[in-house]
Amino acid sequence: MKSHFNTVWGIIFTTLFVLIMLPLPWFCNYEYVPSIAGIPNYIIGWAVIAIVTLVLIFVWVKQCWNRPEYCEFDDEEEKKEEK
């Protein structure tokens, strides 16, 4: 199952995961910097990462959908239904 496709996606999600843990003011701020409606800026930073990650999850799922290695058990199900 080791492939360029899986490695690339592993790196993308791991990068985002590491990014949110960095001690940057957009993710962990020791001073109050208000943004929309007085919400602290780091909350917005987390929300941005969350939305970007969620969008990338959709893209990942779409790209995985018809890859042969992920259809192995679909065929099994289909065969049973045919019987």
Binding site: M1, F17, I20, M21, F27, P34, A37, G38, L54
Partner: protein, 492 residues
């Protein structure tokens, strides 16, 4: 509990109806559970709705609605780092690193439990006994934390002693798990997940409504002190190091949790996994963000309270009519029940399959294990109820410690999946050294200070990885066969 006026009638009616619903689901699950594979992993036939919701609800517990918001209430906005910051990664990280392989291996090798996987990968039947025992040791407090929460809810809404709630909720969960196994657990998880979702949204909306909107609430909170709006929080309990620990603990370390690991074996195919990732991630994000956000927003509304764990029930009780508040409380109870059921079935599997069938009586048939499982579920359930009645600590502390203890399983899982030289003695040594380090860094004051605000799970993980690496290299005479490596690394 002076903050809440007690009117038990609506609570009893709603909770009574909820219990009847769980019993009906348990009854139907029982009728469809005929084999050991059915009992433990639904014979690998779970669809994405059941799988996704069951994953989310098993991870989210009573602590999500009581202990975590209670902790955030004393920290301020920075406390939301406990789950909100990393929640989006809670399933995608396990899915990327282990989930895809586990779906394949579960179908090909017919694994039922985490120890099935590890003992096969490391060609060590003794691993089953050790891991089964360790799992039970950590799973009992994990379930105990949930059941303590149930006691709190009953106490807040009826005035009855905590023990009444602990015993009643314990009997219900044991009942539907004993009869319906994983099917009962996952089917009830769907109803419980919906209730949790609604409860989280409702609590957040009530806060905004009672406080006149987000801007007003944030202005009031900031006026009481900017420490409520920034790191390390009002009580200084959320430095960057603790934020990182929590992000890792509730996403990366979920890969070592046996009750979540098993969910991959129950999935029908890879498409179920992909859809489950989307469903569970969205569900966990909505619940995790909104219920946590209630805590800082509620501070200007509620002020100081005797026990911060009660903050969400207080918000619901003050902002909603009694019947509606009781329905929402059923949602919180659901969070605890859905965690207990997933863990209880996994703990039962650890005793009957990992310890009994593989270690004590290898000749035991699957039918006899299935039969035995029902009695073991009851015995573990009784121990959990006794643990809950003793209440040895706060919900957050017990839950986090149990989760961190089982997090050490992630080391042999990841090394076993990605490193051919990993050996069984190294896996044993890594888990034991990791858990000993966890206990020492939690209990010994000098070590506690030395880890600079990180949760003890971080040094424990580092120690376990080093031990795994060094002992594996030193025990290459115990390296597993190429045939096993090919099966586990999916090499054609």
């Amino acid at each position: 509990m002076p903050e809440v006026s007690v009117n038990p009638v609506p609570f009893f009616i709603v909770i009574g109806l909820y219990i009847v619903l769980m019993a009906v689901i348990g009854y139907f699950a029982t009728k469809q559970t005929t084999t050991m594979h059915d009992y433990f992993v639904l014979s690998g036939k779970a669809g994405f709705i059941v799988s996704g919701i069951a994953y989310a609800t098993t991870q989210y517990s009573m602590g999500t609605f009581l202990g975590t918001p209670g902790t955030i209430y004393n920290i301020g906005y920075a406390g939301m780092a406990i789950t909100s910051a990393g929640v989006v990664f809670a399933l995608i990280i396990p899915a990327i690193f282990i989930g895809r392989k586990l779906v394949t291996l579960g179908h090909r090798e017919h694994f039922l439990t985490l120890t099935d996987y590890l003992s096969d990968r490391y060609e060590s039947k003794y691993m089953s006994g050790l891991l089964g025992l360790l799992m039970v040791v950590f799973m009992i407090p994990m379930m105990g934390a949930q059941i303590i929460g149930a006691g709190v809810l009953v106490n807040v809404f009826t005035g009855l002693p905590n023990q009444v709630g602990i015993i009643a909720f314990g009997i219900i969960v044991v009942g539907y798990c004993m009869s319906g196994g994983m099917r009962g657990a996952m089917m009830t998880d769907v109803v419980q997940g919906v209730l949790m979702f609604i409860a989280a949204i409702t609590a957040f909306v009530i806060c905004l409504k009672m406080g006149g909107g987000m801007s007003n609430l944030n202005a009031a909170l900031a006026a009481s002190g900017e420490e409520w709006m920034a790191f390390p929080g009002a009580n200084g309990k959320m430095p960057w190091t603790y934020m990182v620990s929590n992000i890792l603990l509730w996403s990366f370390f979920t890969m070592g949790q046996p009750q979540l690991f098993t969910k991959f074996f129950a999935m029908k195919n890879h498409k179920t996994l992909f859809r489950s990732v989307i469903l569970a991630t969205v569900g966990m994000m909505v619940i995790g963000w909104l219920i946590n956000w209630c805590a800082p927003l509620a501070r200007p509304l509620i002020g100081e309270i005797s026990n911060s764990d009660y903050i969400v029930p207080i918000i619901l009780q003050r902002g909603l009519p009694a019947v509606v508040a009781s329905i929402m409380v059923a949602g919180i109870a659901a969070a605890g029940m859905s965690t207990i059921d997933g863990v209880l079935v996994t703990a039962t599997a650890a005793v009957t399959r990992d310890i009994y069938q593989k270690f004590i009586n290898p000749k035991a048939s699957d039918d006899s294990v299935l039969h035995l499982s029902k009695y073991v579920t009851v015995i573990i359930g009784v121990i959990v109820i006794i643990f809950g009645c003793l209440q040895p600590g706060s919900i957050f502390t017990i839950n986090t410690f149990a989760f961190a203890g089982m997090a050490m399983f992630v080391v042999p899982v990841l090394f076993g999946m990605y490193w051919k030289k990993a050996t069984a003695p190294a896996a044993w040594a890594a888990i034991i050294c990791g858990d000993v380090t966890l206990v020492l860094c939690t209990k010994v004051e000098v070590l506690k200070n030395a880890i600079q605000g990180f949760h003890a799970v971080i040094p424990a993980f580092v120690v376990a990885c080093i031990v795994m690496f060094v002992v594996s290299l030193a025990t290459q005479n115990k390296a597993v066969s190429n045939a096993t490596l090919k099966r586990h690394m999916l090499i054609k």
